[in-house]
């Protein structure tokens, strides 16, 4: 093996290079490296900003949509007045209400009000009543309609049907702040 002699200047050069490399590492660590982590952070922040903005817009849109959707629905406190109103409409439409049974069932953020009605009425009274109900605010869903002919000889029962159906609507748990607009 060749006799390799390390000269003083070689040592000093090695020291200078080593110090240079060390300084490069230190400067890279303190000046450049933070840029990468900062850049990653800012890019993430940028993505988050986009996402936040989209989300904020979406939430706003949903709030508006919900407000519009909830607009016709009544609050929970309107339950008894609503039952009374339906009873009143039924009477006005010549429906002889024999039983009206309101029932509330909590469903998510709302309370479902189901009013089961049994009574007697003519076919056309029922059509008229349903028309009023369909146009009523809060919106009412009419279900399980059953009209049955009553068998009898008396004049009173002629053309009178035994009727059974339910009305459903949602009541808002919290009182909604209605805008004047």
């Amino acid at each position: 093996m060749a006799n390799i002699q390390i000269r003083e200047q070689h040592k000093e050069l090695a020291i200078k290079i080593a110090v240079g490399v060390g300084l490069c590492a230190v400067f890279f660590h303190f000046l450049i490296s933070p840029v990468f982590s900062r850049s990653v952070f800012l890019r993430q922040q940028l993505r988050e900003s986009h996402e936040r903005l989209e989300l904020f817009k979406e939430v706003g849109r949903l709030k508006d949509e919900l407000q519009v959707t909830e607009q016709p629905f009544a609050g929970l406190t309107a339950r008894s007045s609503l039952v009374g109103k339906i009873s009143d409409i039924a009477s006005k439409n010549k429906i002889d209400v024999q039983a009206i049974t309101p029932k509330t069932i909590p469903e998510g953020e709302y309370v479902k009000l189901r009013i089961e009605i049994t009574g007697q009425a003519s076919y056309f009274s029922m059509i008229q009543f349903f028309k009023v109900m369909e146009a009523l605010e809060p919106p009412m869903s009419i279900g399980d309609v059953s009209l049955s002919r009553q068998f009898g000889t008396g004049k009173k029962t002629k053309g009178i049907l035994k009727v059974q159906f339910y009305l459903e609507t949602y009541l808002l748990k919290q009182a909604r702040g209605r805008s004047n607009a």
Binding site: E8, C24, L31, T118, G143, S146, Q150, Y166, E168
Partner: protein
């Protein structure tokens, strides 16, 4: 550097001096000499951990001891070896342009230097004396000798800054103590303890003669030899310089210099003045000791940046020279500054704009939105997601409710229109719908006479809606009654409102029944 250390490695002794620069001039801080004991057993120095290194030869051992004595182990030193190991020659040559000067002088020097160019280290001092004539002094040392001296010094823990010829150190020492007057010519004689006498004659900073001769330690014989050798040298110098006359010669080194000075002045009929070094600030050091330490003192002064009037010859090859700590530190500081500037520039010019762009982009997205909706930043992303997740089901719930709303009034109207007179309906059931999961059969009892309750649990094709119509038809003929009922079913199925709600309307059951002595057709129509 405020301190310098010089080490002179003679043939039989090593002398070391540490000197400092003061306002009054250079001062000796410490000095010591150590004989080189040729037959001394080699020692192995121990480090702090107690482990032994390579054994030291007598020269290295003497250097180590002498450095220990002056408390300068591991110091940066300037060293010189015995002048008998160094060859110095003077010659003249045509003036050469600077860029070719070095190569030309070294080539010319091979004619005068008794060593092979490849085996020696050379340095020169050149001055243009006459028009187009350079006066050159070349000093050379054999590489082997130099390497041995370097190894000895390094083995003794010294950090070698430079190795130079003795005459440079002597000239520097006399110059530093302000003994060199403005005379054009100077002579330096260094007597060494081994009997070697080194003679150097210079004019205008150019060394014209540098030679050695040996004394035999016989007083009378030595006096005569000294005078003869000196006279011959002076004559040779006279010839070389074209008539330059030496008027002053400085004596340094070991021995009784005062006696030698008296003898020589007498021998030269007082035409030449012989002076030895005098140190006005070193009263407590015996003169003979100071004279013997003069070479090492001159070497130490090199580190204190005292120039030699005879030129600062460098016998240490460039690659073997140890840079002064100040120079290294300066280089490292400059390196650090350059790298710091480069990295800072890279940061500011390349990377900072990227960050700024990202920040601006972010601000451009959020800024106007925040102005419009200050609450944008008040909620966390998670809160926004939770809010969105909470809103969706509410909208879906109400949407589903509104979408599945039936219109029983329209259905009943359609059923009533076009009902054949022969048909009497007993029961109409509009099941399902309304978004209600519970069937009427589960929630309320069926009305009297109703026969549709048995189907109410069935799922229909269109959103769970189901139509059941039950009744009777009387025309007096079973065939006619069946045809009327079938025809009515077809009419119903063709009605748009019914086909929207029910995908299929069919006659499910037809039977003959006697009611009050009349046979009638009882039927059941189902819409799914």
């Amino acid at each position: 550097m405020s301190k310098g250390v010089g080490v002179y490695i003679g043939r039989n002794e090593v002398i070391a001096v540490s000197a400092v620069r003061t306002a009054a001039g250079p001062q000796i801080k410490a000095f010591a000499s150590e004989p080189i004991q040729a037959g001394a057993p080699e020692e192995s120095p121990e480090d702090a951990g107690g482990s032994k290194h390579k054994p030291l030869n007598p020269e290295a051992l003497a250097i180590r001891k002498v450095l220990e004595k002056i408390h300068e182990q591991g110091s940066f030193v300037t060293a010189a070896v015995s002048p008998s190991l160094v060859a110095t020659r003077h010659f003249v040559m045509p003036a050469i342009p600077k860029k070719d000067e070095s190569r030309a002088i070294l080539n010319e020097a091979t004619r005068y230097i008794p060593f092979k160019l490849s085996d020696s280290i050379m340095d020169y001092n050149a001055r243009v004396t006459l028009k187009n004539v350079s006066s050159v002094t070349v000093t050379a040392i054999r590489q082997e000798v130099l390497q041995t001296s370097l190894d000895d010094l390094r083995a003794a823990s010294a950090k070698v800054l430079m190795i130079e010829p003795v005459y440079c150190a002597v000239g520097r020492a006399f110059s530093a103590i302000r003994m060199l007057t403005t005379v054009k010519t100077q002579g330096f004689v260094v007597l060494q303890s081994d009997g070697n006498v080194h003679v150097t004659f210079a004019s205008n900073g150019i060394v014209y003669l540098s030679r050695d001769f040996l004394l035999s330690w016989n007083s009378d014989e030595d006096k005569s030899r000294f005078t003869d050798e000196l006279r011959a040298s002076i004559d040779y110098f006279f010839k070389l310089t074209g008539g330059e006359v030496l008027t002053q010669i400085f004596l340094a080194g070991a021995g009784d210099l005062k006696l030698w000075a008296e003898h020589l002045e007498n021998a030269f009929n007082y035409t030449i003045r012989f002076d030895s070094a005098s140190f006005p600030d070193e009263k407590n050091i015996p003169p003979e000791v100071l004279h013997s330490a003069l070479v090492a003192f001159g070497l130490a002064l090199r580190s204190l940046n005292y120039p030699s009037p005879l030129g600062d010859i460098k016998l240490l090859p460039k690659e073997d020279r140890k840079s002064e700590p100040v120079k290294i530190m300066t280089f490292l500081a400059v390196e650090c500054a350059i790298l710091a500037i480069l990295f800072a520039l890279a940061r500011l010019v390349i990377f900072q704009p990227i960050l700024t762009n990202l920040k601006n982009e972010n601000a451009a997205i959020l800024g106007p939105a925040v102005l419009e909706n200050p609450s944008l930043m008040s909620q966390s992303m998670q809160e926004l997601r939770t809010e969105k997740d909470a809103l969706n089901p509410r909208i879906e719930q109400l949407g589903a409710f509104l979408q599945t709303k039936e219109s029983p009034s329209a259905l009943l109207s359609v059923l009533g229109q076009g009902l054949p007179l022969s048909i009497a309906l007993d029961q109409i059931s509009l099941g399902g719908g309304g978004g209600s999961e519970a069937s009427p059969a589960e929630s309320m009892p069926p009305p009297e006479g109703s026969v549709s309750s048995g189907r109410k649990g069935k799922k229909s094709k269109k959103g769970g809606k189901q139509l059941t119509l039950k009744g009777v038809c009387y025309l007096g003929s079973a065939e006619k009654e069946t045809n009327v009922v079938s025809g009515w079913v077809q009419t119903l199925a063709s009605r748009k409102i019914l086909s929207d709600y029910y995908s299929e309307i069919k006659l499910e059951d037809v039977s003959r029944e006697k009611i009050r002595e009349r046979s009638m057709t009882r039927f059941s129509i189902v819409g799914d």
